[in-house]
Each structure stands twice: as structure tokens, then as C-alpha cells.
């Protein structure tokens, strides 16, 4: 772990100022990702800006139009067990509870979860080349060990995935990310928050210099799914493992017919993967295996496996079909009973 200065910020402005002043400075919230990476010497911030005392980043509140605002500092556990979240956005609660462990969720914050970095083996080992960690050094995962890597939206420079479960739920719900920077506040639609690697894999998201996430806003229109949702996560052991593939889906149903659908995939790309075509294809369709398969194929169109992860293409397809089935039936996947309903 490198030497760094420690700056405890008491206001958003203070944090933004400190961050804008030093491109090598980093925000620290729950620390569960940043401290982890600092011990591996992957992250070497010059200054840590401790935002955990900033009151304005805390709390969950109603928005005027009936949505829900979640402060960047709200711990994952608090969000998952919040009654408003559990009743209106149960998909989000489920996605959070599918991730990490009770201990980690207690420390992990909403803003930190959004900004956690990839679990690519090479990214985490400074003895190996990695474009994301050291631009221009090469991508070791291509032609190397790539079981946990992307099948969609990857580039010749990086095939890493975004590891978050929560973000897959947020992507499906179409949340907004509120950020504040030196130029004030702006709102980034969730789909635009994370980016594809293209030729700059060192950039995970579209935050600009000096910007911090202040809150996530869940839209009112994503609160109408009732029991018709599911978060289905497939992994190498039954708990405490990152997703090989995960699916977040929420449907509005009229009888046996789907009127609208939201689907996002995790573990398959540099960002939660969502495609309008797949969702449109389900609107007005009967909730049956055939419709689900059509949607899955559209969502996975162009998916490309590598040596060790080619299985994910078919696995993801089947997971989408099953999750849609669970959502349509109103039997969301439990995160404690590991049998897949």
C-alpha cells in the first residue's frame, strides 16, 4: 500500500474541490474495493478523500414525482432491507442481496458499489500486463485465463466485466445517477454511466474529473412490477462469489401477456447489458418460452466467447429464459434458497 494523505471532507463541495485539485486523489467510502486494491498496489491514490461524514450523501428519501432517492453513502444492506425499496423495487433489493456477504454489504456504499472495479485476475495482479491498469501494456486476458470475462461489448483492448450485482438491478430499473462536479450537478442515465472499454479500458465510467456520485434516483415508473421480477445469479459456488452470469428482469403483466419488460445482464460485459430490442420484442407477447427465447437471442445477439468463457453465451441465454419465466410467474428467485425455482 502506497503512502497517501488523508483528507476528511465535511461537505460535497469540499470533496469535489479536493478531488478536482488532484487527479491522483480518490474518494473513499466503504473502502471494500479501494482498500482491497490499494493493498494489491493496483490503486495508488495520492490522497484519500473520506466522504463518509458528509451528511448530504446519506439517507433514502422520496422524490417529488414518486421515485426514491438513495444517497451515495447509503450502505448496500440499508438499501436492501429498506421497506420502500423492498415494496417498490424488490428487484433492486434482491440484486443487492445476491452480492457479496452481510459483512461486505454493511460496509459497501451505493456510490462505491457503482464504482467498484473489475475482478479480472490480471487487473488485480501488478506483475502482469493489463491495459485497464496500465494503458498500453496489453490485455493478458485475451489468450489467457478468461473464464470470468466478457462475451458482449468487449474490445481488442479489454474484455473485463463489471462485477456488480446491484448495478444490474439499477440498470434494469433505469435509475438515474446524480453527480456533482466542479461545474455543478448533472444527471446521468444509468445506461450511460458505465462505458464499454473500446480503446480506453482504463475508464470504467463517464464521470469527469472532480465529479462524485451524490445519489441514485429510482424512477416512479419502475415501481409497478409487483411480484413480476427476478434476479437470477449463476456462479461458481452458491454464495460469496461473483456472477458468471446474472439476469435482472422486471415485467408488467396483463393476464398472461407481457405489456412491458426490462432485462439487464451482469457478468457478461464491461457494464450491465441492456438492449431495447429485446425488451420491445416482449411487449404484447404471451409470457411463454418462445417469447423468452426470442428476447434472449436479441439480448445476446453478437455475443462472442473466448477460450474459457464460451459457455457463458448459452448459459446466459438459458438464464434469461428462466428469469423471465420466474418473473412472469411471479416467483422471483430467492437469494437464500439456492434451488432455482
Amino acid at each position: 500500500m502506497n503512502r497517501f494523505s488523508y483528507h476528511r471532507a465535511d461537505t460535497i463541495d469540499d470533496a469535489v474541490r479536493a478531488l478536482a485539485a488532484d487527479p491522483a486523489a480518490k474518494i473513499i467510502a466503504g473502502g471494500t474495493n479501494l482498500v482491497d486494491l490499494m493493498k494489491y498496489d493496483v490503486e495508488k491514490p495520492s490522497t484519500l478523500i473520506d466522504v463518509t461524514r458528509i451528511e448530504a450523501l446519506k439517507g433514502i428519501s422520496e422524490t417529488e414525482d414518486g421515485g426514491l432517492r438513495i444517497g451515495a453513502l447509503v450502505p448496500n444492506t440499508t438499501v436492501a432491507y429498506d421497506e420502500r425499496v423492498a415494496s417498490r423495487y424488490p428487484l433492486l433489493a434482491s440484486a443487492i442481496l445476491a452480492g457479496a456477504t452481510p459483512q461486505l454489504r454493511n460496509a459497501a456504499t451505493t456510490g462505491g458499489n457503482l464504482n467498484q472495479r473489475t475482478r479480472c485476475y490480471y487487473f488485480n495482479d501488478v506483475a502482469t500486463p493489463c491495459n485497464k491498469r496500465e494503458p498500453g501494456s496489453g490485455c493478458s486476458a485475451i489468450g489467457g485465463l478468461n473464464r470470468i470475462h466478457a462475451i458482449l461489448g468487449a474490445s481488442e483492448h479489454c474484455i473485463a466485466t463489471h462485477p456488480s450485482d446491484m448495478c444490474v438491478g439499477l440498470a434494469a430499473l433505469g435509475a438515474d445517477v446524480h453527480v456533482v462536479g466542479p461545474d455543478g450537478e448533472r444527471v446521468i442515465p444509468f445506461a450511460d454511466y458505465h462505458r464499454l472499454p473500446r480503446d480506453a479500458p482504463q475508464r470504467d465510467n463517464t464521470l469527469r474529473l472532480g465529479e462524485i456520485v451524490v445519489s441514485i434516483v429510482l424512477p416512479p415508473d419502475a415501481a409497478s412490477h409487483g411480484v413480476h421480477h427476478s434476479y437470477l445469479k449463476l456462479r461458481d459456488r452458491l454464495s460469496y462469489a461473483f456472477a458468471l452470469v446474472s439476469v435482472a428482469t422486471a415485467l408488467t403483466m396483463e393476464g398472461g401477456t407481457i405489456s412491458s419488460a426490462r432485462i439487464a445482464l451482469g457478468g457478461v460485459a464491461h457494464k450491465p447489458w441492456r438492449r431495447q430490442e429485446a425488451e420491445t420484442a416482449l411487449a404484447g407477447r404471451a409470457a411463454d418460452e418462445h417469447s423468452f427465447a426470442v428476447a434472449a437471442d436479441l439480448l445476446l445477439d453478437g455475443a462472442q466467447g473466448h477460450e474459457h468463457n464460451a459457455f457463458k453465451v448459452e448459459l446466459a441465454r438459458r438464464a434469461v429464459i428462466r428469469a423471465l419465466g420466474q418473473a412472469a410467474a411471479g416467483t422471483p428467485q430467492s437469494q437464500t434458497d439456492k434451488r432455482i425455482a
Partner: protein, 178 residues
């Protein structure tokens, strides 16, 4: 427990040591820490509270679990400097007057450990689980205890021990096997 903060809210302190005040196992402590020191290393190296274990130092095993302001947390990923004003309970704080916490006793009764290295983390985690009140079946205990790896494989006995205490407290009806 609330503790007086003697560090100004806003401070750029560089890489020198910082003084923090915490309530550790019910006792107020004022401590000098370097920003790069984790809570786990502070406990183990500086305070000789070696009951809290280091199994991975990266949030991957749960051996370092302590209870901070009522929440179970991996102390290896917490910077000590950020704990200012917090109340921290470690395994050493669970039986302050020498009498075992019911979960400690249940761990012995159910043989819920072998080498004992994961045990303090398991117990702190279990104590928090009981307080959280969310686990109401063996299945849920298993999931809610999955943040604590036990390489000796004492899992079924760990679940038994926690189940016993939940049953004692009326939080759970004993499941009959089969």
C-alpha cells in the same frame, strides 16, 4: 455508545499519524494511527488484540469480522483512521466478565470449530446475525453466514450452534430433520 471526536471534521493530515477516539469493547481509547493502517492491523499489531484474525486481508474470508456500531464488518478493509467516533466490539469484548456469550458456549457445545482460526470471526458474525433477526431457518443461517469461510469445514456445526441460540431466544423454531 457515543464517543467524543477530537479530530476536526475537516483536515488534511498528510501521511503523519492521526489521533482517533474509539470505544473499543466498551472502553474509550484515544489512539494514534497512520492513515495506511487498517483496523485489523491496529487491533492485532498495535493493541495486541489478536483474537480478531487475518485470513486474507482482502475481504474474502470473514476471519477479521468485528462489530462496528452494531454492524458486522470486515476489519481488514477498514482504515483505522476512518473509525474515529465509532464503537467497536471484537471477540475479546463478547465475554467481558469472563462469562461466555451464549453463542460462544454453543460453539463449544456443538463443536463448531476445529483449528479455531476462523472462529472469532464466525462468532462475531453470528452474534450480529442474531441481532439482525433476519435468519429464520437453517437455510437462511447458511446464507447469512456465508461471509465466513471455514477451511476446516465446520459449517454444519456452526449452523447448529447459531440455530441453538436462535431457538433459545425464540427467534426460530427448531427444524426437525426429515
Amino acid at each position: 455508545m457515543s464517543v467524543h471526536r477530537d479530530l476536526p471534521a475537516r483536515a488534511i493530515v498528510g501521511t503523519q499519524t492521526v489521533t482517533i477516539a474509539i470505544a473499543l469493547n466498551g472502553e474509550r481509547r484515544s489512539l494514534k494511527v497512520s492513515p495506511a493502517t487498517t483496523l485489523l492491523d491496529l487491533l492485532r499489531h498495535d493493541l495486541a488484540l489478536t483474537g480478531t484474525k487475518k485470513g486474507c486481508d482482502h475481504g474474502q474470508c470473514g476471519a477479521c469480522t468485528v462489530i462496528i456500531d452494531g454492524q458486522r464488518i470486515n476489519s481488514c478493509l477498514q482504515l483505522a483512521v476512518m473509525q474515529d467516533g465509532k464503537a467497536i466490539t471484537t471477540i475479546e469484548g463478547l465475554s467481558p466478565d469472563g462469562a461466555l456469550h451464549p453463542l460462544q458456549a454453543a460453539f463449544i457445545e456443538r463443536d463448531a470449530f476445529q483449528c479455531g482460526y476462523c472462529t472469532p470471526g464466525q462468532i462475531c458474525s453470528g452474534v450480529a446475525l442474531i441481532a439482525e433477526g433476519r435468519a429464520t431457518s437453517r437455510e437462511e443461517i447458511r446464507e447469512h453466514m456465508s461471509g465466513n469461510i471455514c477451511r476446516c469445514g465446520a459449517y454444519p456445526n456452526i449452523v447448529d450452534a447459531i440455530e441453538d441460540v436462535l431457538v433459545q431466544r425464540g427467534q426460530l423454531m427448531k427444524e426437525t430433520v426429515e
